[in-house]
Structures are given as structure tokens and as C-alpha cells.
Symmetry: C2
């Protein structure tokens, strides 16, 4: 069985990342990475499924030991992705999707050079604004803040290996699977193939 | 309209290259390169369609001018691929497939660094031998000669960007189109995309 890949997956808010992920995860060659966190479990959350719940002391020790691919603090709680968590799943042949914002993604690219990075973009900033307005759930101020944030994120898209425009959902998902398949077919990613063909 | 790519396409004899090409060329984003040759046209052959028929003097002058991506001599006739022929089609947005044997492919990789190279391989050498035997059209000696030739070619497969196993034809064609789509989605191959998204 061949190993999986770590897939860095980023998209600005309003680009349909959640729906795309839901569809992708129906394919059992894909899974998401379970983060470690120092926050307390909420009702119904299961250790090892929703998060790996660990103490702040343990978390910081692991940071010091270089056990995290990336970590960050939000609202006084630490969150991060453990190398061990990702490696275990990759060795099981799974493609591990790490859904992460742009700054975290840049750190992961540095720490895991063979990770594959995919940026999901809207067809245009104006189309993104239309989508956010259409939801009708946010004030104009919040929408413009999100658009500005999206613009900052899109400016970094060319740091990713691939950029997929999510205009029609099915096409974007097809594009994602094409990227994954093509990566598998790269000769550098099939190092034992030539000798397998010759000796079988 | 975005530009196409030059696609180096190689496969040992018996790997279903012809059938694959036939299917691929049904998609009008793809075409084959028309070679230049010094041999005389056969009945029914049309200049500019089957070949560009040119004189030996003209051919050699063009070789000297560096107008060929690759060229070779067979049976006292010169054959080659002109940069101008490929560039014109690429600028029309076509992906130009150059069906070529391994040694020629290596030269093209050197002369056209942004060409995309795809090697089509059999699942195994033994399976290739079975396929050649099944045809029942060649002597055992010819078959073993072809198998040896295939082995030499397969040994070079890791010099190509991608290796696709042609086990089931439809899967191999899907793989080919995944490779082409993924290449289009590479951020380095979409240099103006970020500014397009931001400014539209």
C-alpha cells in the first residue's frame, strides 16, 4: 500500500470550503487531521475524534520537543497539529487534509516540505462579495471586513502549489481529485514503479 | 485564451499508445504535431496535414538555424519537429502532443524545458509479453526483441514528469486528463490568476 500525503487546504471565508471538504471526505482515501488543544472538551466531544485534549503543560513540552507541525493560540487556548497524528494516517495510506488559514499554511510548508498545498479561490472578489451579501446574515461592515481579509489571503495564493477556482462546486471537486491523482502519477512520487514493472 | 503546452508522449510498443491517442484527440484542446520530412509524399498525403514536405537542403538549413525541436534520420530520410509548428498551435491554445521514442524525448526535454512529459507503461514486462503473444502476428524472436526494447525504454521512464500505467484503457485516459488538468491548476502555470481574482 502506498503512503498518503499531507494536503494543506486553505480558502477565504465564503469560498465553499466546508461543502467541498464534506464531498472530498466521502472518499475514504481522505481524512482530516485531528488537532490537539488545551481547551476543555464541550459536551459530546470525544477525545481523539474531535480533538486530542491535552494539558497546557503537555502541549508546551511537545512544542519544545518539535512535535508540532504548526500551532497557534486563540482565546487563551492552544491548538496545533502533531507530526505523530499526521504520520500515522499517512502511513495507513490516507491523504490527510489540514484545513488551515494562510499564515499557518506558510509555516506548514516550511516544516513539511513534501506537503501538497491547495488554495481554493472565488472566481473574483466581486463574486465573493455577492455571495456574502446573498447570505444576508452579516452587516455590510462585517462583509467588507471579510472581503478585505479574503483579499489578503488571495494575495498569498501563488505560494500554494495549486489554485482551484470554486465557481461550480462539482468542477472544483473534480479539479481537486485531478490534482491528487496527478501528484500520485508524478514519477518522483512513484520511486519503485520502474523496477516493479521490470521485475514483475 | 490561455496557451497550450507541448506534451512529450512516449510508450513502448504494445502499450496501447495508439488507442489512447485516438481517444485523447477526440478532445479538441489536443492535437498532434505535424512533422517536417524530406521523404516524398505518398499517394493521398497532404502537405501540412500528414507532413510538411520540404527539401533536404531546406531541412538542413533549418537544422543549422536551430529551427527544430528534434530531428532524426530514418532510411535516408530526415524527419523532425519545427519549433514554429508547435509554437503556432500552442499560441492557439492547443496542447500539442509529440509522440516520440525515448531518445528523442530526452532531446526535447533539453530543448523545451517547459514541455510536459508523460510515459505510458505496461503493468509489467510479463503482461506486455502476454499482450504481444496474444496478437499472434509476430515470431517469438521478434516478440522478445520488442520486449527487450520495451525494457530499455521503461528504464528511462523516471526521466519523464509522469508515468501512467495502461492497464485499463479508460483509467489510463482519465489519468492522462487528470495530469493535464492538474498542470493547468499549478499556481506557476496561472501567473496572472491572483491579480485577475483581485481586480475582477
Amino acid at each position: 500500500m502506498s503512503k498518503g500525503r499531507l494536503i494543506i487546504f486553505s480558502a477565504p471565508s465564503g469560498c465553499g470550503k466546508g461543502t467541498m471538504l464534506e464531498q472530498i471526505l466521502k472518499n475514504d482515501k481522505f481524512c482530516v487531521s485531528v488537532s490537539a488543544t488545551t481547551r476543555n472538551p464541550r459536551e459530546g466531544e470525544v477525545n481523539g475524534v474531535n480533538y486530542h485534549f491535552i494539558s497546557r503543560e503537555d502541549f508546551l513540552k511537545r512544542v519544545e520537543n518539535g512535535e508540532f507541525i504548526e500551532h497557534a493560540e486563540y482565546c487563551n487556548n492552544l491548538y496545533g497539529t502533531l507530526h505523530s497524528e499526521v504520520d500515522r494516517k499517512i502511513n495507513e495510506g490516507k491523504n490527510v487534509i489540514l484545513e488551515i488559514e494562510v499564515q499557518g499554511a506558510m509555516n506548514v510548508m516550511k516544516n513539511v516540505p513534501d506537503a501538497l498545498s491547495v488554495f481554493i479561490a472565488p472566481p473574483s472578489v466581486n463574486e465573493l462579495r455577492r455571495r456574502l451579501n446573498k447570505r444576508g446574515t452579516e452587516t455590510q461592515e462585517v462583509i467588507e471586513e471579510r472581503v478585505s481579509q479574503a483579499e489578503r489571503e488571495i494575495s498569498c495564493a501563488d505560494k500554494y502549489d495549486y489554485i482551484i477556482i470554486n465557481d461550480a462546486l462539482e468542477d472544483a471537486i473534480d479539479d481537486f481529485f485531478s490534482v491528487i491523482r496527478a501528484e500520485e502519477l508524478k514519477s518522483v512520487n512513484q520511486p519503485s514503479l520502474v523496477s516493479d514493472i521490470l521485475n514483475k
